[in-house]
Structures are given as structure tokens and as C-alpha cells.
């Protein structure tokens, strides 16, 4: 049966702006950037881990009608679209400080949990992201 998750997807409203954020601020790297004409296949991954990619998909035609695309865009900006991401980090507080200095908007400061230290942020469009420093054990 299955042996890995290789690709997952979130909706972004602008792929260039998404690159500025996911690569420029969060430090991910581009794994694929292919102009297929009808769409731009744009994926990013944690540096050194191309086996797990996230597709930054812009909702729109021809995959969906303009009206549907608009509904998706509105849900994303309300923070109501699914597809959120959780990363791990070796040092939650240090990563938090680094990203804060880069102007990232946090929804939750680093907080101790039973499973480690984690915090929450949003991408520029309204998607939820988190990163966790797992408890050693």
C-alpha cells in the first residue's frame, strides 16, 4: 500500500507573493516552477527535503469557474479554507524571533504544550501555519 505523502496543496491568491513569503521569509525552497500555460505548477519544500512538496495553487480557470474561484478566494481571506501546514523546528523561539523580524504576522506566540513548544502564524492570504519544536523523548 502507500509508503509516503509526497505532495499536498494549499490555495494562494498570488503565486509571486506566495514565493516572497514561503521562500523569502519562511526559508523554504522551490522544488518545481513549471509554466504549463493553463497553470503554473509551483511547489516548495523544506530545504533538503524535496520528497515532501507543497503545491501553491492559484484558484482559477480552467480548473474552476471564475465564480467558484472567487468563492475560494473569499474563504481563504476569511481564514476558513482548509489546507493548513505544520512544520517542525529545532528552536521554536529563535525561529519565532527571526520571522518576527522579517515582518511575519503571528496569531500565537511560542507556547508550551504537552508535545512541545509551538506557535501560529498566517500567510499573507489567510492560510494557517504552525511550527512546533517537539519535546525530546
Amino acid at each position: 500500500m502507500f509508503n509516503a505523502i509526497t505532495h499536498s496543496q494549499i490555495y494562494v491568491l498570488d503565486q509571486d507573493e506566495a514565493l516572497d513569503f514561503y521562500v523569502g521569509k519562511l526559508g523554504l525552497e522551490v522544488t518545481a516552477d513549471i509554466d504549463m500555460g493553463f497553470m503554473r505548477w509551483l511547489t516548495v519544500s523544506v530545504p533538503g527535503h524535496p520528497e515532501r512538496q507543497v503545491l501553491l495553487e492559484k484558484p482559477g480557470a480552467p480548473a474552476m469557474s471564475q465564480e467558484t474561484a472567487q468563492q475560494v478566494r473569499e474563504l481563504v481571506t476569511k481564514g476558513a479554507m482548509g489546507g493548513w501546514l505544520i512544520f517542525t523546528t529545532d528552536d521554536c523561539r529563535k525561529t519565532y524571533e527571526t520571522l518576527l523580524a522579517r515582518g511575519v504576522e503571528f496569531t500565537e506566540e511560542p507556547t508550551e504544550r504537552p508535545y512541545g513548544t509551538d506557535c501560529g502564524l498566517r500567510d499573507p492570504f489567510g492560510n494557517r501555519l504552525r511550527f512546533t519544536q517537539p519535546k525530546r523523548g
Partner: protein, 140 residues
């Protein structure tokens, strides 16, 4: 026009995030309107149009959710928890809690059990629902 809706949504979400983040602090309309970069006059109405409930009600649900967490996971007194989550008096806290949860903080504490999934998830999903209102959709 459509871009304007997205921009407004994003501003309202920014204000809602501020309530999620700083729920225990006094967050009045002027403060939230500043965070959302909109005028005070339009803030509450726009927020309600976006999320289906007033900012005040959202903040109350947020505080009650945190109180539910503390009642469930800690042994702290109801009065301590009331102030910890941002209510100004135990009377207001009990009334609001009962109004939203359907029973008193003490009754809730007796019935509640801890759950073993990531906290961010339980924070979103154990937050009591907004009542359906005839003038707008249920909140997201």
C-alpha cells in the same frame, strides 16, 4: 470590487486573530478597528457581515473557550479563571459562560474530560458555536 471583499476579509481576519492572541486584554472597538485599519464606525458592522457575529460576541466565545480549557485541565478556582481569561467580574463571567455553554462553570468542570489532540485544534473546535442568527450566517 471582488478584490475589495478579499481585502476587507483579510483586515477583519487580522482583527479576529488579535482577539485570538490577546483575548485576556481589554480589546475595545477602537483598538480592533486600528488593527483592521478601518474606521470605528464601520468595524463592528463589517466584522459581523464577514464572520456572522459581532466582535464582542466572538471575543466572549474566545474567552469562554479558554475558561473551558482551564476548568478542564487545571484545578484553579473559578474566580481566578474568570480574571485570567479577561472577564471583569465573576458575575459577568458566570452569566456569559452559562449563556454560551448551557451550564455553569462548576457544572462544566465536573463533566469535562481532557483530550489528546494538538491544542491548536481543540482551541478552534471546542470553542462554543455562535448561535445561528436570523440576520446572518453562523460564524466560520
Amino acid at each position: 470590487m471582488k478584490r475589495a471583499v478579499e481585502d476587507t476579509n483579510r483586515r477583519m481576519l487580522r482583527a479576529r486573530d488579535a482577539m485570538d492572541r490577546a483575548y485576556a486584554q481589554p480589546l475595545d472597538v477602537p483598538t480592533l478597528a486600528r488593527i483592521a485599519h478601518v474606521s470605528e464606525a464601520h468595524f463592528a458592522r463589517t466584522f459581523r457581515a464577514t464572520f456572522g457575529e459581532t466582535p464582542h460576541r466572538y471575543l466572549q466565545r474566545r474567552r469562554v473557550e479558554r475558561a473551558m480549557f482551564l476548568l478542564r485541565e487545571t484545578g484553579r478556582s473559578v474566580t481566578d479563571i474568570c480574571f485570567e481569561v479577561g472577564f471583569g467580574s465573576p458575575g459577568t463571567f458566570s452569566r456569559t459562560f452559562r449563556d454560551i455553554v448551557g451550564r455553569s462553570p462548576r457544572a462544566y468542570r465536573k463533566e469535562a474530560t481532557a483530550v489528546g489532540v494538538p491544542t491548536c485544534f481543540t482551541m478552534a473546535w471546542t470553542r462554543p458555536s455562535a448561535p445561528a442568527s436570523p440576520s446572518g450566517p453562523v460564524a466560520d
